[in-house]
């Protein structure tokens, strides 16, 4: 792999990572009301913190 191909590959990875961040943020905005705190989750499962 030469330098140009490596750079293209890197740019592609950055692009897909940024798209992944955007996806996660959209998911957060849609499901924000379903969030519970970590303490509540542990209480549900019966884990003592």
């Amino acid at each position: 792999m030469n330098a140009v191909e490596a750079k293209e590959c890197q740019e592609e990875m950055d692009y897909s990572e940024a798209a992944h961040v955007d996806e996660e943020y959209e998911y957060l905005l849609k499901n924000k009301d379903q969030a519970i705190t970590f303490e509540e989750y542990c209480r549900k499962r019966g884990i003592k913190l």
Binding site: V21, L28, C42
Partner: protein, 203 residues
């Protein structure tokens, strides 16, 4: 006049020994003591007073015996602060700096974030055993103090999106937690959690 430089007519031939010097102005035994904070203004005021020998001799009632060297020392002492005063000022400066830092770090330590988990991350946590959850909790408890800075127990990287705010990825062993920070609500929302697979975190 100093005996070594010659005697005047009204002085005896045998030079009298100098009387013991009273303590210099500005010497205070309690340096840097927090309990003496109420005495600080008085202490500083006293420290600022220069202490020429001639004044001290006048206070003790002894006749002034001055050499040229003493006169030079006196004029220097009258024009500047004593060494003890400089030490006191330096101690005060250090005390102020330390208390200021303590206040800043105290504020940071008091401010913690709330951790919210979305359903996708909850589903992943359901597959984990209690010990792993406790491991994650120890990292999250440290993360709550400052979710931005990378440090021991908080191994994070920052990921940028095209139009969304930055997302952070926390490493806990082989597990990864992705979260966003909401500064208005002082909350950290974990949107996703997964097991690292292969060479890259990105799946």
């Amino acid at each position: 006049m100093h005996p070594a430089l010659g005697s005047s007519s009204n002085q005896s031939a045998v030079p009298k020994p100098y009387p013991p010097m009273p303590p210099r102005a500005g010497s205070h035994p309690a340096i840097g003591s927090a309990s003496a904070a109420c005495l600080l203004p008085l202490w500083l005021h006293r420290s600022m007073q220069p202490g020429p020998r001639s004044c001290q001799r006048a206070r003790t009632g002894q006749p002034a015996r001055r050499s040229a060297i003493h006169a030079r020392q006196d004029s220097w002492r009258a024009s500047t602060l004593s060494m003890q005063a400089w030490r006191n000022l330096f101690t005060l400066f250090i005390l102020i700096m330390v208390s200021d830092k303590a206040t800043i770090y105290g504020d940071l330590a008091r401010m913690t974030y709330k951790i919210n988990i979305l359903s996708k991350a909850q589903r992943y946590f359901d597959t984990l055993d209690e010990r792993t959850i406790l491991n994650i909790w120890s990292s999250i408890a440290e993360l709550k103090k400052n979710p931005y800075r990378r440090r021991p127990l908080v191994d994070i990287i920052k990921l940028r999106g095209f139009k969304s705010p930055p997302m952070y990825r926390l490493r806990v062993g082989r597990h990864r937690l992705e979260y966003f920070i909401d500064e208005n609500e002082n909350a950290i929302t974990v949107t996703n959690a997964f097991l690292r697979s292969g060479d890259s975190d990105y799946r």
